[in-house]
């Protein structure tokens, strides 16, 4: 974990959970997996507090535990999961656009509480929605349950791993920490619950009299004494699915920018059809036949089959290479080249950063070296049509910032500089990593400044925008690493 990432994690943990959790969390990120007593000893906090902090972190899926040999339980922090906390607003906003306010509140509750049972979520969301409705109206549990089931069906919410049910309970003392398992098919299985009820409005008279809340509280706890039917079945937000959705959004908007609205709708349909069939790290989606696509187009779009075929051919021939043709059965089989799409998006991000930081002539040189792979100094000047002095200056500036690197090709075994070729080249993966690191540091800076200023609005929005860049670069790096 780099310094910038650790700083960012520490800021995020502090904002969301407080000092103690931050101390424990950062210690775990820095030192890797450690048992309980060592954590308490090294950070100088009491065992009790460490336990509570670890509880919070495990509840939010930020720390995992493992039982090693000799019965020692070690805790390990998931740094990348902590960094996802930056993206919570985007997840909630996505749920809102797809499933309106009910979906938004469900996802918000799940993210804020880590894991929850379905009945608890439904009750809480219904209560919150009821408060915002007009007097006299209440939110029915059934409607919230329906939205919850829809979220599960589209895989945005998944079950947490459970303690496996052991039949023979006399196999000796239980292990110090249970190993949690979940099978693939159970992950999206909603238990049959009949949640009947309506959201309760919080009585406004609670705030008036001081004596009354005390009397009301015992009454509310007696309501919850009835056994919860789905105890032990916890749900969490499925972040990978959200990421898949963001990736699809980015691809669709790229196609819309490069071509037109109809092409982007076709690509969106193709992506929607492969949502649940394609694993998240795959470089290509499953092949889809043109007939299937025609049937699945959204209802409002009436374009003829011929026009659809033309659009598909155009998409497949486009230099962008987002869509490829993989066969001719069923009117033409088409796949979406996800890895290529992420690569193009990451490259476009790099180009955009170079353009904004150094100017459009530098961007021209950068794109030139990107396309031609390896170029000599003289060739750069000739192709880009920029005077030699300026071209040299720009190349060295980009070289110093590590966007461009030099490749030496010696003519003689002694590598004498006058007899060596020096070629400029762009290594996209390493440039992407460098930029990602810069993004993390930028977000940490923004958070610090925000805390310093206490003026909120502009900085929050900006953090989210930087996070978009983080998402594109991370997806590309992940996808490239998977292919190697």
């Amino acid at each position: 974990m780099t310094q910038a990432e650790i700083k960012l994690c520490s800021l995020l943990l502090q904002e969301h959970f407080g000092e103690i959790v931050e101390k424990i969390g950062v210690h775990l990120i820095r030192t890797g997996s450690q048992p309980l007593r060592v954590i308490a000893h090294d950070t100088g906090t009491s065992l009790d507090q460490v336990k509570k902090a670890l509880c919070v972190l495990i509840q939010h899926n930020l720390v995992i535990y493992q039982v090693h040999k000799r019965g020692v339980v070690e805790y390990e922090a998931q740094c990348h999961r902590v960094l996802r906390m930056l993206r919570y607003p985007r997840y909630i906003y996505t749920a809102k656009t797809l499933y309106s306010d009910t979906g938004e509140l469900i996802v918000e509750e799940l993210l804020l509480n880590g894991k929850m049972t379905m009945s608890a979520v439904v009750k809480k969301v219904a209560d919150r929605l009821t408060e915002t409705m007009e007097d006299g109206k209440t939110m029915d549990y059934a409607e919230v349950s329906n939205t919850f089931v829809r979220l599960v069906d589209t895989h945005f919410v998944q079950r947490c791993p459970l303690v496996p049910a052991t039949e023979n309970s006399d196999t000796g003392p239980p292990p110090p920490a249970p190993t949690l398992v979940i099978s693939e098919k159970d992950m999206y299985l909603v238990p049959k619950l009949s949640l009947i009820g309506k959201g309760k409005r919080r009585r406004s008279s609670d705030e008036d009299a001081t004596g009354e809340p005390k009397a009301k509280r015992p009454k509310q706890t007696t309501d919850n004494k009835e056994p919860i039917p789905d105890d032990g079945i916890y749900w969490q937000a499925n972040l990978d699915r959200f990421h898949q959705h963001f990736r699809d959004q980015a691809i669709v908007s790229a196609v819309a920018n490069r071509m037109d609205q109809t092409s982007s709708e076709i690509v969106r349909t193709m992506l929607r059809m492969s949502e649940v069939t394609t694993p998240s790290g795959a470089p290509f989606t499953q092949p889809l036949s043109s007939n299937e696509i025609f049937r699945s187009l959204p209802v409002g779009y009436n374009i003829s089959k011929q026009v659809l075929d033309q659009y598909l051919t155009l998409l497949a021939d486009d230099p962008l290479e987002f869509v490829g043709k993989s066969g001719d059965s069923g009117g033409g089989m088409y796949v979406i080249n996800l890895h290529k799409a992420l690569g193009s998006l990451a490259t476009a991000t790099l180009e955009s950063v170079v353009q904004e930081r150094f100017g459009s002539r530098c961007a021209r040189i950068f794109r030139l070296v990107l396309q031609k792979k390896h170029l000599e100094q003289k060739q750069v000047e000739d192709f880009a049509m920029i005077p030699a002095k300026e071209a040299k200056d720009m190349l060295y500036k980009m070289l110093s910032e590590n966007f461009i690197s030099l490749q030496e090709i010696p003519k003689t075994p002694d590598h004498a500089p006058s007899r060596t070729f020096y070629l400029y080249t762009v290594n996209i993966l390493s440039a992407a990593r460098m930029l990602l690191h810069r993004c993390y540091k930028s977000v940490a800076n923004l958070i610090e400044r925000r805390q310093f200023e206490t003026k909120e609005n502009k900085l929050d929005a900006c953090e989210i925008q930087v996070d978009e860049t983080i998402f594109l670069l991370e997806s590309y790096i992940e996808s490239t690493m998977k292919r190697q």
């Binding site: 980015a250 908007s253 790229a254 920018n257 490069r258 037109d260 109809t262 092409s263 026009v307 033309q310 659009y311 051919t313 155009l314 230099p319 962008l320 193009s344 998006l345 476009a348 991000t349 955009s352 950063v353 353009q355 904004e356 930081r357 459009s360 961007a363 021209r364 040189i365 794109r367 030139l368 396309q371 003289k378 192709f383 880009a384 049509m385 920029i386 005077p387 030699a388 930029l435 810069r438 993004c439 540091k441 930028s442 940490a444 800076n445 923004l446 610090e448 400044r449 310093f452 200023e453 003026k455 502009k458 900006c462 989210i464 925008q465 930087v466 996070d467 978009e468 860049t469 594109l472």
Partner: protein, 232 residues
């Protein structure tokens, strides 16, 4: 060539062999094995007789190459259409760049407005390099005559600007503008993503980014770029 001795004849022969690329004085020395002082005397002699001339090379401005008097120097020496008197003409290139881009842009606009089926729309938004060349010639903004290759180098710079994309299609030998059986087509395009999130924060463009850390001289709390940016 009366009145010149064998050495002069030899040097003259070497220079003639070099054609319109010219030859450097050191190379003449290697080829003829004559000492430097002799070479210089002969070259001065030949120049005064107006049989050879010296041309400054654009690649290395101190180097002088010699060629026969009545030959036109080759493009690689003078730099071609983009150099006038050893100076690279940046504004000329810029103007041509913008004109070509505008031409392609309007072509793409009209194609999009026509709202026919997508194949035709796309094909009509392409322009071949020959079309662009004709347009630029007709505009008459260039004092120097430009060839189709020159226009193609300008169009390539537009590709590196990310504003234009190119495809090559096979064309019959006889069609106008085709070279060796294929034609290059160009089309104006728009970028696939808007300016990325990182550059909207002051940190994305900050020149002293690497020196910045909390508690130092330059830190997020006292960053002047952020103060300016928050003023809006």
């Amino acid at each position: 060539m009366k009145g010149s001795d064998n050495q002069e004849k030899l040097v003259y022969q070497i220079i003639e062999d070099a054609g319109n690329k010219g030859i450097w004085s050191r190379d003449i020395r290697y080829k003829s094995n004559l000492p430097l002082t002799e070479i210089n005397k002969i070259l001065k002699n030949l120049e005064s007789k107006k049989l050879i001339k010296a041309v400054k090379s654009v690649a290395a401005s101190k180097k002088k190459v010699y060629m026969l008097y009545n030959l036109q120097p080759d493009r690689s020496v003078t730099g071609g259409a983009w150099y006038s008197d050893q100076d690279f003409e940046s504004e000329f290139v810029e103007v041509l760049n913008q004109q070509c881009f505008k031409f392609l842009q309007t072509k793409a606009e009209t194609a999009r407005e026509s709202k026919q089926n997508p194949m035709i729309q796309r094909n009509s938004s392409f322009a071949s390099s020959h079309e662009v060349w004709k347009y630029i010639c007709e505009l008459g903004i260039s004092k120097v005559e430009l060839s189709m290759e020159d226009i193609e180098t300008i169009l390539n710079t537009l590709i590196y600007d990310g504003k234009v994309e190119m495809t090559i299609i096979a064309a019959k030998e006889g069609t106008v503008g085709s070279v060796d059986g294929h034609m290059k087509l160009y089309r104006a395009v728009s970028p696939i993503i808007p300016p990325t999130g990182l550059v909207r924060a002051p940190c994305g463009l900050c020149p002293v980014f690497d020196d910045c850390h909390e508690g130092g001289e330059i830190s997020p709390s006292n960053c002047i770029y952020m103060t300016e940016w928050l003023e809006f």
